[in-house]
C-alpha cells in the first residue's frame, strides 16, 4: 500500500481539522523537535532523530495528578483526570517507537499477571489514545547504534503503522498493530494499492566488540559492580539530567506538592537518577553518594535491570545521551568495556 505525499498532507490536515493532536518533527530554535503541528507544512523532513523523544506526549515532564484545598477544619482533595486528545505521532523513528514498550513495562509492572498491582493510568490513558506512525530511517548519524542493541532503522516494534519512503517521495504503508489496521481502514481512501520501489535504507554499522548479552551477564557479577573502572569511566560526568531527560526509555519521576496560598496541586515530574538528591534518604544517608555510582546505576538500569525484569529493552540505541552530553560521555565505550 502506498500513501502519496499529497494524500498524507490531506490526511494530516484532516486529522488536525478534527481537533486531533498531530505530533511530528518540527524546527524550533535551531533544533528538530517532536512537537504539535498546526499544519502539514510545519513538518521538517530533513532530520535523523529529533532532540527529544516523543515520550513527553505519553508521560509529560510535569502533570497534575491531584488538587487540594486546605480549609480551616479539613483538606479537600480532588482527583485529576488528564485531558485526553487523540494523538497521532507522525515521523517517529523505530528506536523511539520501540521505547514505548519499555515505558509500559514500568508503568504496568506485574499488573498483567496480578491485577491488584498498580497500573499508571495517566500513562495508559495517554498511550490508549495515541497512534504511532513511524517513518523508517534512510540513514543514521555517527551516534546512532540501534543495530548494536537489536533494532534496525526499519524495525516495526512499537509502531502502529510503519511508513517507508519510496523513490518517488511517497510512503509505503504497513499497518503493524490492530490500532494501526483500524487507522489504515479508516483512511483507506487516501491510500492506494500501488507498488513503488523503496528508497535504500542504510543501516548503522553494528559495533564490533559490543555484545549486549555479555554485558547483561557481566553486570550480574558483584565483582563487576565493584570494579574501579566505573569510577574512571564516569569521572567526567557532571550529574545533569540531559541524558535521562532526552532518553526515550528513562521513566523516573518525583511527586511534589505545589501550592499558592491554601490551594495546590500534586504534580508528577520527571526525575533523573543522575541527580545528587535522587536517592537521598530522609535520614541523610545517600546510597549513591558519588556521581560514578549514579552513572553506574543508569547503565545497570538499561543493561541489567531491564533485561532481568522485563521483556522490553532498556536501551534502543537512539544515541541521544551521546549527542547531548556536555562532556561527551559515550555509553558505547562502557558497553564495549563490559563486552570484553
Amino acid at each position: 500500500m502506498i500513501i502519496k505525499r499529497n494524500d498524507l498532507k490531506r490526511l494530516v490536515e484532516d486529522l488536525i481539522g478534527q481537533g486531533k493532536r498531530v505530533i511530528a518533527p518540527i524546527m524550533r530554535m535551531g533544533l528538530v523537535e517532536y512537537g504539535e503541528i498546526g499544519s502539514f507544512d510545519d513538518i521538517t523532513w530533513d532530520y535523523i532523530n529529533p532532540r527529544n523523544s516523543f515520550k513527553e506526549f505519553l508521560f509529560p515532564q510535569t502533570e497534575a495528578i491531584a488538587r487540594y484545598r486546605i480549609g480551616k477544619k479539613d483538606v479537600e482533595l480532588e482527583g485529576v483526570i488528564p485531558e485526553l486528545r487523540e494523538t497521532i505521532v507522525l515521523g517517529s523513528r523505530p528506536c523511539d517507537a520501540a521505547s514505548t514498550a519499555s515505558l509500559r513495562s514500568v508503568f504496568t509492572w506485574g499488573a498483567e499477571e496480578d491485577p491488584s498491582r498498580f497500573r499508571d493510568d495517566f500513562y495508559l490513558m495517554r498511550e490508549g489514545v495515541t497512534t504511532v506512525m513511524t517513518i523508517a530511517c534512510l540513514k543514521g548519524d555517527e551516534d546512532c547504534f540501534c543495530t548494536t542493541v537489536g533494532l534496525t532503522p526499519e524495525s516495526p516494534e512499537g509502531s502502529d503503522i510503519l511508513l517507508k519512503e519510496t523513490v518517488r517521495g511517497n510512503f509505503a504503508v504497513t499497518p503493524v498493530t490492530e490500532r494501526g489496521k483500524a487507522f489504515v481502514e479508516e483512511w483507506r481512501d487516501y491510500i492506494t494499492d500501488e507498488r513503488e520501489d523503496l528508497k535504500e535504507i542504510e543501516y548503522p554499522e553494528v559495533l564490533e566488540g559490543i555484545d549486549t548479552g555479555k554485558i547483561g551477564a557481566r553486570l550480574s557479577d558483584v565483582d563487576v559492580f565493584d570494579d574501579p573502572v566505573w569510577q574512571e569511566v564516569a569521572r567526567k560526568c557532571i550529574g545533569c539530567g540531559a541524558c535521562t531527560f532526552s532518553c526515550p526509555t528513562c521513566h523516573c519521576f518525583d511527586i511534589v506538592d505545589e501550592a499558592t496560598g491554601y490551594e495546590g496541586e500534586r504534580r508528577k515530574n520527571w526525575d533523573a537518577c543522575q541527580f545528587e538528591y535522587f536517592t537521598l534518604h530522609a535520614s541523610g544517608h545517600n546510597p549513591r553518594d558519588t556521581q560514578f555510582k549514579r552513572w553506574r546505576n543508569r547503565f545497570l538500569c538499561k543493561f541489567h535491570i531491564y533485561p532481568t525484569k522485563f521483556t522490553s529493552t532498556g536501551c534502543v540505541g537512539c544515541g541521544r545521551c551521546i549527542r547531548v552530553c556536555p562532556v561527551a560521555l559515550d555509553i558505547r565505550e562502557v558497553m564495549e568495556w563490559l563486552s570484553r
Binding site: R28, M29, G30, L31, R51, N52, Q61, T62, E142, D143, L207, Q231, E232, R235, K236, I238, G239, C240, G241, A242, T244, F245, S246, D254, V256, E258, R267, N269, W270, A272, F275, E276, Y277, T290, Q291, F292, I322, R323, V324, P326, V327, A328, L329, D330, R332, E333, E336
Partner: protein, 299 residues
C-alpha cells in the same frame, strides 16, 4: 601540532617529577569525533592529551568542591584557556581554591567552536563560540606554565554574531516583547540543570532548587518554575560570571543563556566598574558591602 606536543611534554614532566598527581586536559573519545575531558595520572598516558578548537570545556569545573573524587586523586594540573583561567581567579577570590593548590597549564587560544558538532576543520565566523568573538584573554591572565608562544590579542571574527550587540538590540524592544522573548525560551527548559552542573561557579553545596522546606523554586518544568529557576541562576552569577559560555553550550534545548548572563555582567560593570576574572585579589562586588557602593537606586 606544536602546542599539543609541548602540552604533552609539560604534562609528562609534571607527572614524572610528581609535582602533580593528575593532569586534567582534553582527549578524543573512542567513537565519533568528539573531544572530552580526560584525567591523566601516568606519564605514559600523556599522549592522550590533545589541543584543537574543539577543546571547548571549561575544565576548572573539576577542581571545585563539586568533585570530591577528583580531589582525592591528589594535586592537579589543569589545562586552561584564557576564559577558563578567569574562572580560577574568581574561585580564588571566593575562597574556593588556593593558588598553590593547582598547576595551571595555560594555552594561548585563537578561538574554539560554539558546539563540537559544528566543527569542520576550521573555526569560522559561523561556528565560533560567541565568547571568542569578544575575547580579550587569548593569552591566559593566570598560569604556571604557558604552552607555546603567546598569540596576538583581538578577535578576528569580523561579521560573527556579537553578544553585546544582541543584548543592545534586545534591550531596545518594549518590555512586553522582551518578556515574550524570554518566556518562549524558558518554557522550553527541561530542568535538566546541565547549566548549573557544567558551571564551575555554581558550586553551592545545596542548590536552592533542591531546597524543599520550603520549596523556593517549583521543580515542575512549567513557565513559573522555569522562570524562577533561570532567573535565580542568572542573579547568582551576576558579577561573578566570566563568560566561559559553558551553560549555553551544555543546554540541550538551546536557551540563549549567554544573553542573560552577559546582560547582568554589563549591569554590574556599569554599577561597580567590575569585570570578574581578571584578578584574584579582592571580592566580587555583590558579595561584599562597600561604603562607596552606589545608592542612587534607593528612591
Amino acid at each position: 601540532m606544536d602546542r599539543e606536543k609541548k602540552l604533552r611534554e609539560k604534562a609528562r614532566e609534571l607527572l614524572e617529577s610528581k609535582e602533580v598527581d593528575l593532569v586534567i586536559g582534553y582527549g578524543w573519545t573512542r567513537y565519533g569525533k568528539r573531544v572530552a575531558p580526560v584525567f591523566i595520572t601516568r606519564p605514559e598516558d600523556v599522549d592522550r592529551l590533545i589541543w584543537n578548537p574543539m577543546c571547548v570545556n571549561n575544565l576548572t569545573l573539576y577542581i571545585t568542591r563539586k568533585y570530591p573524587d577528583v580531589k582525592a586523586m591528589g594535586r592537579p594540573a589543569v589545562v586552561v584557556k584564557g576564559c577558563d583561567a578567569k574562572t580560577v581567579n574568581v574561585l580564588i577570590q571566593e575562597g574556593q581554591l588556593k593558588r598553590e593548590d593547582v598547576v595551571l597549564l595555560g594555552i594561548p587560544c585563537e578561538g574554539v567552536v560554539y558546539r563540537q558538532e559544528l566543527y569542520d576543520g576550521e573555526v569560522t565566523k559561523e561556528n565560533v563560540s560567541p565568547k571568542c568573538v569578544v575575547c580579550d584573554v587569548k593569552n591566559p591572565p593566570l598560569y604556571d606554565h604557558l604552552i607555546g608562544e603567546k598569540v596576538e590579542e583581538g578577535s578576528g571574527f569580523e561579521g560573527a554574531r556579537n553578544i553585546y550587540q544582541e543584548i543592545e538590540e534586545l534591550d531596545k524592544k518594549p518590555e512586553g516583547e522582551r518578556w515574550a522573548f524570554w518566556m518562549e525560551h524558558f518554557e522550553r527548559c527541561i530542568r535538566c540543570y546541565a547549566c548549573r552542573q557544567i558551571c564551575p561557579l555554581c558550586y553551592c553545596e545545596r542548590c536552592i532548587a533542591e531546597k524543599n522546606m520550603p520549596q523556593w523554586i517549583d521543580t515542575s518544568a512549567h513557565g513559573r518554575g522555569n522562570v524562577a529557576w533561570n532567573l535565580k541562576r542568572a542573579m547568582d552569577l551576576a558579577g561573578r560570571c566570566v563568560f566561559c559560555g559553558e551553560c549555553e553550550r551544555a543546554c540541550p534545548v538551546n536557551i540563549p543563556l549567554n544573553l542573560i548572563n552577559q546582560k547582568l555582567s554589563m549591569v554590574v560593570e556599569e554599577s561597580f566598574n567590575h569585570r570578574p576574572g581578571y584578578e584574584s585579589e579582592g571580592h566580587p562586588p555583590l558579595i561584599v558591602y562597600s561604603l562607596e557602593d552606589r545608592e542612587d537606586f534607593i528612591r
